[in-house]
Amino acid sequence: MTSQRAFREALLNPATPVPDGLCDGKGQSAGRRYAVYRNNVTVSLKEAMVTAFPLVRKLIGRQLFDQLATEFVRAHPPRTPLMMAYGAELPRFVENAPTFKHIGYLGDAARLDLAMRASYHAADADPLTAAALSEMEPEDLWQSHFKLAPATRILRSPWPLFDIWQYNMVPDAPKPQPVQQDVLITRIDFDPAPLALPAGGADWLAALDAGTPFGAANDLIFGCVPEFDLAACLTLALTAQALISPSSKEPK
């Protein structure tokens, strides 16, 4: 008998011999035939990695990414059949891998790739609009609660993460400057896009999403980030469709 445990054992480890009990059509040992499954598993998982991590791949190049993916799929096979969720362990993996840990920002680059994909598959929602805000009485606005849209993601980074994304993924973009950048990812219609958040922006959005009323969130951030520019952050959040109003109707 060839158990699935034995069959699996040799799949992701080429050093393990072909399991017993497998043959060709004439009863000869399976040999190279088993390698078809070995190859299918590894190649399909590595292809999933290529799709999932475009920025990481651009940063380290095809050859090194291939090496990284080979090591990663052996260490972290998927935990569910939802391949759209595969690779969540990659940021920590690259931060601890001897070959890559000198590239300090690679972990955050992987987090950005993950957040872009999560945003792509997130639920649809009607965004909070400037028009809706302008209809509100100031005291109502100050008491209002807003939430992040399901497709909105916020990444805090000690690296110029937005600049790194832009320089590698957008033609003719400027070189990254040595600054810390928090990144806002939003999705207008179907394609997620990152933006650099101004100072205090990430904390402000997080406060709103945690249920802090609009006025209190503004006061909170002014209190700890003196250069916080409410108008700039609000304009950016509305233009990028980062927010929803919890009282607004669910889209069909």
């Binding site: 699996r8 497998l22 035939r33 999933a48 792509y120």
Partner: protein, 282 residues
């Protein structure tokens, strides 16, 4: 989405294609598109965004087949109930004309291996697979179609032929079959049997859908041909011939062209579907 209109509750006896997102606009703009489409279930399990919007629009225009690739019906462990729930949610929402899965396993313990792995044909496998098909059919509240695998090797312990195994599965579960003719060609070449003998022994009365697709050629340690089910090339001429022989046994069926890797332009895929049409009675 309203699945109750027109005759979208069954797949027509006509050519269909495995849908790829890059063909969305071309497919919608084609004045003579194929008559039905198939999608992989696992690609439409997000919460929203483009995949679900496309599927919603397409399901208004085409009868839909949902083809699962991740349930691991042949797994030694129990079925993943989270994944069963996802399949049910998708089917309840998209209301496909047909749901199919594979005679294979892909999950071991908590690991998903992302490939269709082979099974020995024994009474023990039969009992386990029959129970898991029962569970799937009662969860989805519909009859499912099970696809015959591409085989690269055999198990010494097997004491049933694949066709006897499938015949008995249909008897025990009332499931139907998705007969993949390319898989028949690949397996029969790889394991050295006659594809026509396989087809004559196949429970063809339970076939609800047929697949054709491309394969690659390799060889084993002895230099014997080893065909790989790759879905990355045009359908081989010998597979077209075998499709004609299959249709002579089954009668007209929904026939799908699968092309999953190195996906060509819509026009090339459409031309492959036209070759199917030429083999189906008008």
């Amino acid at each position: 989405m309203d699945g109750s209109h027109r005759a979208f509750d069954r797949l027509p006896h006509a050519p269909g294609i495995g849908y790829k997102p890059q063909h969305f606009n071309a497919l919608r703009a084609d004045p003579h598109p194929v008559e039905w489409i198939e999608v992989h279930a696992e690609n439409y399990m997000g919460d929203g965004g483009r995949p679900l919007a496309q599927l919603s629009a397409l399901s208004e225009q085409f009868p839909l087949s949902i083809h699962g690739v991740g349930l691991s019906i042949g797994g030694e462990g129990p079925l993943d109930t989270d994944h069963l729930a996802r399949l049910k949610k998708l089917c309840d929402w998209a209301k496909p004309a047909s749901f199919s899965e594979h005679l294979a396993w892909s999950t071991h313990g908590s690991e998903f291996l992302n490939d269709l792995l082979p099974l020995p044909y024994t009474e023990a496998t039969l009992a386990r697979v029959a129970a898991q098909i029962d569970q799937l059919q009662s969860t989805l509240n519909r009859r499912i179609l099970l696809e015959n695998p591409s085989s690269y090797l055999a198990f010494e312990e097997s004491d049933l032929s694949e066709t006897d195994f499938l015949t008995e599965l249909a008897h025990r579960t009332s499931c139907g079959f998705l007969l993949d003719v390319n898989n028949v060609f690949v397996s029969s070449t790889n394991l050295g049997y006659e594809p026509l003998a396989y087809l004559r022994a196949f429970p063809t009365e339970h076939v609800g859908e047929i697949h054709v697709g491309g394969h690659d050629a390799d060889h084993d340690d002895q230099g014997a041909p080893l065909l790989i089910d790759s879905h990355g090339t045009p359908v081989d001429n010998q597979v077209w011939q075998l499709l004609g022989e299959t249709l002579a046994l089954t009668g007209p069926k929904p026939v799908l062209v699968e092309w999953d890797n190195d996906v060509p332009d819509w026009a090339v895929l459409r031309a492959e579907a036209a070759r199917v049409a030429a083999l189906l009675p008008a």
